[in-house]
């Protein structure tokens, strides 16, 4: 259990994290979202004990990160932004060093290192110096380092940034497998990742939480939730047919030709109604499907457009 209460981190006068409170329980995979400069990385840096909070507290499994930093840090595996590692070491040497620091000795070091290497598929570059590796491999070295000691709390700052789609998929699978009895916090820009791996998402903006819920709950907040997309063979005035039907909102022209999105005016499903009207009026339909809410849309509507520097 991680408990963050009234956490504030100020840099001079600017509050990067502003009175933030939330807790994460075992088994949860928390997606931490927000625009650049919203305070995602700063929050993670405070949780992991790299930065000290200006006010408020972080408790990791009962250990205060300020009062008992060593105990708290022992429980945490952390992939910092950009996955830094010592470039002049080989993958094997680096992981060996981490294993030692994590308190393993003798045979167990080898076992832990081998296990971590296998988990993130680093076998092919084990003997290479890290600075010669590609971005994807460097990130995997960072991941290996973070999961090495089978930590109770895993904090990953943009774990899939710079990976190709296959690697992204692999990392997500890895996180899902790890997550069972752990606490995982992932920051990301990629919203599809939230639906793919997270059980819960928090969107923060200007250091404050603006939304906290499951990915499904977030989607419901989208205006595209339950919306029906139609594609026609020729242009047709749908709006006039739909006028006055309860539960149906605006009809929006989509990007593609002869395509429209019919929005729901409240959170009820309108599929049945629209489909009935479509049959009755014999719309020239080629495609017809219900949208899920779009996280991107929710994200944009709840975060301000102002871009702060981080």
């Amino acid at each position: 259990m991680i408990e963050i209460s009234r956490l504030t981190k100020k840099f001079e006068q600017f509050a990067a994290v502003d009175d933030l409170s939330f807790s994460v329980a075992e088994g949860e995979v928390l997606g931490f979202l927000g625009p650049n400069g919203a305070g995602k990385s700063t929050t993670m840096k405070v949780i992991t004990g790299f930065l000290s909070p200006s006010a408020g507290s972080v408790m990791v499994d009962g250990f205060d990160i300020v009062q008992n930093p060593i105990e708290a840090k022992t429980l945490i595996g952390y992939l910092p932004e950009g996955a830094p590692s010592y470039g002049d070491m080989t993958t094997l040497e680096f992981l060996h060093f981490i294993a030692e620091i994590r308190g393993y000795r003798g045979e167990e070091i080898v076992a832990r290192v081998q296990h971590a290497i296998k988990d993130v598929e680093l076998e092919s570059v084990a003997q290479q110096t890290i600075e010669t590796l590609s971005k994807g491999f460097k990130r995997r070295v960072g991941l290996a380092q973070a999961i090495m000691h089978d930590p109770k709390v895993l904090i990953l700052d943009e774990p899939t940034d710079g990976l190709d789609p296959n690697q992204k998929h692999h990392v997500r699978e890895l996180i899902k497998n790890l997550a069972k009895d752990k606490i995982v916090i992932i920051s990301t820009h990629i919203l599809e990742e939230v639906t793919a791996v997270c059980t819960r998402a928090i969107i923060i903006d200007e250091g404050r939480i603006v939304i906290d819920g499951t990915p499904a709950e977030l989607e419901e907040k989208s205006k595209y939730h339950h919306a029906v997309s139609v594609r026609l063979t020729q242009d047709y005035n749908l709006a006039s047919d739909l006028q006055g039907v309860t539960g149906i909102g605006d009809v929006v022209k989509a990007d593609e030709e002869n395509s429209y999105t019919i929005l729901a005016s409240n959170s009820d499903s309108i599929f049945a109604k629209v489909s009935e009207i479509a049959q009755k009026k014999q719309w020239p339909v080629t495609e017809f499907h219900v949208n899920r809410g779009q996280l991107e849309d929710v994200f944009r509507s709840v975060t301000s457009q102002s871009q702060g520097g981080e």
Partner: protein, 244 residues
Amino acid sequence: MENLGIIFRRELMGYFATPLAYIFIVIFLITNGIFTFDIGGFYLRGQADLLPFFSFHPWLYLFMVPAIAMTLWADERKTGTIELLLTLPIKLSEAVLGKFLAAWVLTGIALALTFPIWITVNYLGDPDNGVILAAYIGSWFMAGGLLAIGSCMSACTKNSVIAFILTVSICFTFVIMGSPILLNALPAWLPQFIVDAFAALGFLTHFDSISKGVLDIRDFLYFTVFIAAWLLASAIVIEIKKAN
């Protein structure tokens, strides 16, 4: 304290994983040779001691030591590994001390590799080997003092070149503090105790007495306290500047 050893080994290995350590050692040995034999007139003096060898060490260290020290923390900040290192379950003091000791041992290795000159002087004459040993230890401690300054300066910036320049400047100040050049330049109206205090803070005052074989515990104490103070300052600077 086990972590101290792990960090120490990683750092020392790091020096030898790149050409840095080898270049440092080779240049140190070459310049030492030039200083001792050409400028110091080792043979011409006709004396069986290593005074010309050791008397150039403060000036040699002035440039060699900051070159080692400049990357200590600046590079960690630049590459972001400082975030990795300081979120591992270690104490900041272990990281500061481990890194410092690795750099200090590297200078120790370079210093120890000057042993042929010790063999030479023993072959040519009958020197007081106790004095020579004391001078070696004194020289190593002086290198440690300069390294500790470098550690703190390196913690101040992401840019290792800036760290180098800062370290050289501050080291220079401390080296010449006790030298006649600076002491003579002080205004005559200053009370003697201030002049003495000034001289007592300088490296040369302490190193000169050690290298002449005068083993005063206070000289070693001076260097030890000096190192401790600058390492403490390093830790404070790291703590404050982590956020940027």
